[in-house]
Subunit: 337 residues, 4 copies
């Protein structure tokens, strides 16, 4: 429910409305939308307060709100959210490229990749230390040793670090090393993990589940934001369809759809969508053209020997080539890289 | 890799093979397949031991194994596994019906449903105390209070209890009340949860993810079994497709496919697949006809007021009617209810 | 729009209503539903006649109808339709098994298969003479020579023949040999073919498109029925999903859903759904248990050498074994084979 | 099978190879690939000629070819095909925009739309005269009257016309008015229509079926090309997935995948993919960024009153705005609009 205040509403009148809602046990969000000031009421019981509020001084209108994800909806906050990670801003004019290996394997690998992608314009370092793997017999990541390497290489190259967390009990550990927590596709509906990521302070990169709808992604983000952490970035990374020519099907439409429905930044992961190196630059260009606020890209110094996802990882040279072309596409849509 | 022993192999020779594998750090499974004794080697490094083992006394053959889920594969254990839960056997001649409400709501509800389904032939009691919900604003379950009610009504009606666990840190609590732990569709690839469910002793009901392949389900089961718990039952509960006439699409073929590929019991959940009460008996009949070892069915004493999944819950009378017809179908495929 | 007549309505009053509708250019369907007589008006302009009709003697009520496929909807005709093909009735108590090879290859093959399946209880002979093939380099069928063989073997074995027609210009030819025309999955939205199949007299077996919804299937049937041919049988044959363990995913729920929404008979094709012989009997049993009025099954005397679909064709012995078990399942759901 | 000629091969030697293949009943394609001259043999029996051909003078190598769609494969013809339609070239440096209404409704509508889109840079006029509609009660198109309007407005605005043909028996009529024949998604596997479109001379725009794989699309194109018409343009228009936030899911990856596998031009249809006007410009930009050779866009002078697809049709102003931005994206990927 949104309470729209009259343009002539005094601060005192506004405070009275806020106080009333809080006394009734309601939670609220205040935002300014063009000329209008909105007070958003989150709780489902809010509707019961409507008759009383409509009568209060300074209130011009009370509107119901359809979307079941009020905190992340454009109806509550019409302007875009910018999420800061270290000195990087996601959701502003700049398209933020996050690059690095799928898994952190050792210091040499991470340094080689980190230095190279930083030089070519990547702004954040990605890399997995805790890996959710379909088979129990696949490489499960270096754990804390990998986190320490990420911290070191991030600092050396001036890039904030984003890395995945796979269980609530690991959040404190991962957050002590990383600048941003990634919640992967397989955990998008691990609601305990979402709630606990919402109860800490580091920004969260939330990837869409492989067969989750746009609405389910927004509801998952609502779990995090409603628990208190509004610094959430959404990531489209390909969905599961009947088509097997690519690993997943990049749902390019989800980028503008998410940006219409939500004020949160949206990035694209062309690597997992494609599953094949030669397609990644094409999907990266398409992602930016469709309005993505950033890219998450897998890069490896020696993809043939990678412990995971080698087939879809760009080489160092491939990454450099891709970045060159991306600058023109970003400029064409009034962004910069 | 499977080591097939010679029928003439002595126990001493057999022990020597086992000892050799263990000294080399390998893990193994011994099983008797018809006339043959098999020693299965799980680890991927096992292949390196093959030349040595082939030369040992009592060994007739060393075979590679294709499936990436050795513990749950029919190639390792050709005969079916029976999983006992209390005095109920899943995977034997009897088709086991597990019934109860989606969510445990209060004592009256659970007692009414529990007594009624027990009288009509249900052998286990189901009910959710911890509910994974797509929206943070939906009813999240009664928690431990719900577990206590399940324990009480299960004891009163003589039915072992199966209930969902949604996070590794809840396993001990849930296992202290329930006879069988359910891992739901959204957590099928919560690998930490799988591993920890494999490190305790209660049997596990593992539901297929909404867009997981049969192979991914078997790999998820492999996480549990390879962690030490071989009492796993698989559950087909409908997959996500383009069709919206039903909530999900029951993949009826998955039942015989799973039983061909794995020795684990397989049950069907017609309620979540259908999403609509009137379809449930049809899908239940189809599931048994296709070879399911059991059914997981939602029943409510007053579906219109249910806090979750009311639309797909059978009424008490509806459940009784369904059971009547199921007996004939079970008999037609040489099973009993 | 449905005009419900008063129980006291005289035949003269009824005739006046009919005459009025026809004079206004409307088309109608008269049916008796329980105690009520209904006059269904098909055309979208029918709504304009409502005020006038409501005032006429003998009319108790005028109802709008939601489904966009009025002719095939249960709301128009609540009782089930039985479709007769030769001396076989589809949609009655008997579950009708249609069996034969995917493609008619030569006289020896068709005779061997036809005699064997007739002996085991098949009631209709299936076989393709015009084959729609994904590749232009695959076997395209024997054409008219194949039709002649079907006619001959059908007559010898006492089974009416169903065979596919792939283009409007072939309908007359195929109808001159076959007892029932099959419209395949790839042509389910070949609207010209549908309309022309509706403008001739032979009954039509309409297979669901590989990614068509239940509603689209009913709309395709509406093309045929609204063109004048009400003898239509629907066939669920598996849909395309992400799962690759089977050729297609048999949408078992579609069987009861179609029977709830439409009065037309519904059969299942377990062969194309499975794509693999060993699964066919399981899916056939499930289909009958779910309420199918018949089965369409591929059988070959030497599947290894089949020119198409050998992998999913039952052997002659496999068909016999399957039929034995099916009898019990049919009996359990109050049908017979 | 590909016969690679020696760089030193004389024309006489080359002619001898060609003559030999033709005498044996084989069909062939000659192409120049970089420095190499290739003779492609289409027929599956070609393999039998390999030993003889390998011995002939001027032949350096005989290679087998994997893809089942030889005529349209990059392995046969590594360079891109350019398809000319009137004075427009599809597959060259220019990105070709085809625009117009979903259905031709009347002269005023088509003229208003045609003039406007031509002025803004569209190079071809699209519009449906024969409409394949899911419901028999929907508007089915103006037929020949619509074709005549397209011819007239195309001539007035200097744009070649592309329009859909839905049945083999209509090809001659449609081809007598249109510059390019469109085969729609629902007819992508109408093999009779494909073959007959291959047996005439007008270029063909082949749209991907709503649930067809990339390989099936290429096999459908192979039907046309192998029947003699090599002027085929492929069109990605969205596939059916579980996501309902958009009408279909634009498979953006299919654009680079098709261009890797085939030498045929590939265009994108953002209108049908999105199903919603506000998303179309985003998808159009993404399509060009991903490498599309053109766009097929629905535009209407009064979308609210359109007889079909109004919701996804751009307004005249919306089209103009979109074109402005597209120029920059095209330039960024070394193309022009």
């Amino acid at each position: 429910m949104i309470v729209v205040l009259d343009p002539e509403c005094s601060l005192k009148e506004k405070a009275a409305v806020v106080r009333y809602v809080e006394q009734q046990g309601g939670r609220l969000l205040v935002s300014v939308v063009g000329e209008e000031t909105h007070i958003g009421l989150i709780d489902s019981e809010a509707q019961a307060l409507a008759p009383e509020i409509e009568m209060m001084a300074g209130v011009s209108e009370v509107r119901g709100v359809a979307p079941p994800y009020p905190h992340v909806s454009r109806e509550y906050q019409p302007g875009p959210t910018e999420v800061r990670v270290g000195d990087v801003t996601i959701g502003g004019e700049e398209v933020v490229v996050m690059a690095g290996p799928c898994s952190v394997e050792n210091a040499e690998q991470l340094e080689a990749v980190g230095r190279s992608v930083a030089k070519e314009g990547a702004r954040m370092l990605r890399g997995g230390a805790f890996k959710p793997r379909t088979s129990p017999y696949s490489f499960q990541g270096l754990g804390e040793e990998g986190l320490a390497l990420l911290l070191k290489v991030g600092a050396e190259t001036g890039m904030p670090v984003v890395t995945e967390v796979v269980a609530p009990e690991d959040i404190a550990l991962v957050a002590s090393y990383a600048d941003m927590l990634q919640i992967g596709a397989r955990n998008m509906q691990n609601f305990r993990l979402l709630s606990e990521a919402g109860a800490q302070e580091k920004p969260v990169l939330l990837k869409r589940g492989i067969s989750s709808t746009v609405e389910e992604l927004l509801l998952a983000a609502e779990y995090i934001v409603s628990a208190g952490n509004s610094r959430v970035v959404l990531c489209e990374r390909g969905i599961r369809t009947f088509e097997t020519a690519t690993r997943n099907t990049l749902d390019i439409s989800a980028i503008p759809v998410l940006k219409q429905k939500s004020h949160l930044p949206v990035i694209a992961d062309p690597s997992h969508a494609a599953g094949e190196r030669s397609l990644v630059p094409h999907l990266a260009r398409a992602g930016i053209a469709a309005g993505a606020d950033g890219l998450l890209v897998e890069v490896h110094n020696d993809p043939e020997t990678a412990l995971s996802d080698g087939k879809q990882s760009l080489t160092l040279d491939g990454f450099a080539d891709m970045m060159d072309k991306l600058r023109g596409v970003a400029a064409a849509v009034d962004r910069r890289l």
